[in-house]
Symmetry: C2
Subunit: 350 residues, 2 copies
């Protein structure tokens, strides 16, 4: 555990001009992301510095769009999916205290208007895309022109996995070593995999009983088995890099599923036990294993919630849409022409 010498405000202040200049309006979109190697456990909680590096795939068009504009009433207003929230609501508080890191006590009353096209708090990581979009909107609104790596580190201070939602495609969040956490940010991998599909199986969209932050804390404090997690995560990360460079889908899927199940195992080994699964989560897992037994290459991952995210290739899309009615399929590289031109396209061995 590092000493907690730095506050978020100290760190953000270093990157701000003497006087903020606001524009009329700013808007940013950030995708949700699904970790293939999970972030689970903090080494420092104020700055959300992780115990392990992680790696994700961003969900293209699924995510959060956030608009910032001046508030005419002189009071901050937080709007979520078209609804004005009470300022004392947990969501509004988080948004306002994040914006406060940039305003430093000066008066810039704002309307923060946020729209998710994914179910909020159902294990589909809306806080990740939310803080990433908010950070980018703030960057634009105050014309900060900060580089993506800094935005990623700032977004991480809002919600750890938000560091990855700054980018599209495959993204690695390096855990970093510095006490101020400014080396703990994500970067995009120059790999595209047009064939890859992520399928969202919605078991439940109810708000979960134990939020990820508390769940992580309980796991680190009470699960003996958690002691073996950091080494496994480090190993899984290497395996995923290898699978990506080999274009080996089976290996990618297997490592991602094993990693997710191991993370859930650390939760289950906590006290009191932390089980994010619903009975229907088990039904879906059993179905996936049966399909795999039958030769269909499909894997899954899960976050701190009951929903499954399937990993498969385009060729199996129709079959899986039949097997899982209501499956929402994302092609993460649909708009891949907009990615960095030096990107390598994965060609799977045929």
């Amino acid at each position: 555990m590092l000493t907690e010498n730095f506050t978020k405000a100290d760190i953000v202040a270093r990157y701000l001009p003497e006087k903020l200049i606001a524009t009329d309006q700013a808007e940013a979109f950030a995708p949700s992301n699904i970790a293939l190697c999970k972030y689970w456990g903090k080494r420092q909680s104020e700055l959300n510095l992780p115990v392990n590096s992680s790696l994700s795939i961003s969900l293209a068009h699924l995510g959060t769009r956030t608009q910032i504009r001046p508030s005419q009433t002189g009071e901050d207003q937080v709007v979520l999916n078209g609804q004005l929230l009470p300022v004392e609501s947990s969501f509004a508080c988080k948004v306002i205290s994040f914006v406060d890191l940039f305003r430093r006590g000066r008066s810039y009353p704002l309307i923060v208007d946020t729209r998710n096209n994914i179910p909020t708090a159902a294990g589909l990581a809306s806080s990740a895309s939310g803080f990433a979009a908010l950070t980018q909107a703030i960057n634009q609104y105050f014309q900060l022109q900060l580089p993506d790596a800094v935005l990623s580190a700032f977004a991480r201070m809002g919600s750890g996995s938000a560091s990855r939602s700054i980018y599209s495609g495959f993204v690695e969040w390096r855990m970093g070593l510095q006490e101020d956490g400014m080396d703990s940010h994500a970067y995009p991998l120059d790999i595209i995999w047009p064939d890859l599909r992520v399928g969202l199986v919605k078991v439940s969209t109810a708000v979960k009983a134990v939020d990820s932050r508390s769940g992580m804390k309980r796991t680190v404090e009470t699960a003996s088995l958690y002691q073996s997690w950091p080494a496994q995560a480090a190993q899984d990360l290497e395996k995923i890099h290898q699978a990506l460079s080999d274009g080996n889908f089976s290996e990618l899927g297997a490592v991602a599923e094993h990693n997710a199940m191991s993370m859930h195992a650390t939760m289950i080994a906590s006290w009191p036990p932390l089980l994010y699964w619903q009975p229907d989560s088990v039904v879906a897992m059993q179905k996936i294993w049966a399909l795999r037994e039958a030769g269909v290459e499909v894997y899954f991952t899960m976050d701190a919630g009951p929903n499954l995210k399937l990993l498969f290739q385009e060729k199996n899309q129709a079959l899986l849409e039949t097997e899982f009615p209501g499956l929402e399929v994302v092609a993460p590289f649909e708009a891949s022409e907009s990615l960095n031109s030096s990107t390598t396209t994965v060609k799977e061995p045929s």
Copy 2:
């Protein structure tokens, strides 16, 4: 890992007289047992030597009754629950090769007649009571007069947890250190707890897809998190001893549930994932957690199967029988007057 210098036959031979003298018939009963601190993982597989010590409660009248008598046909016959089994069936093979350890190639054709009053292979540990009853019946049939500790070590060579089913009440199986495993046997604890109840929730009585032996092997070989298991099991064992000596039911239940969930966590963290739970197992867990939230002191444990075993006190029996229709309740100390006279009766703090 120890070197595998010893075979089962070598070890058994040391305890046998030059010439076996058979009686007309022998019969023994051994109770099933439910581990409160689980046996999970072998340090040596030929002799079933465990990675960790474990502690269980025997299930009084639930278990296996085994009768041995000479076979008039000259061929071994294995009868399970009244049905003559084909000699090439897995059950008959295991029984016959265990008996062979004692016959050492000499001709004693036998009928081994086994009756379980618990569902076979449904996570209710019929192999534990089965090998314990068989070992005791062999001891009587050949008039070996071996001490219980030796019978426990022999039963362990049939099935690890059978070492504990030699005794009633609370039983500890010490892992031991010797290469021949003769210090790896169970012994009974001199504690009785008349108030304690074990409730069997039958989620499924189907034969499980992956037997415990294979499950254990897969876990040890593929689950990184398993590395933290032996230390946790050692700690849980100490906590259970403390809870028993304090008569602290809440602590006993909590440690047992945490231990079981941690064992399942190591399975879930295996590859491919090993999930013995059914959707209805999760339904039952959620119900137990809700009852506990509502102030009802009930805990559970689970073995390598989908069924739950509730731990509670007599005062909650009626309520739990209503909540879990079909609950089979065992009072492990019902016949406690037959236990060792030096036994300490637990008096819970009032």
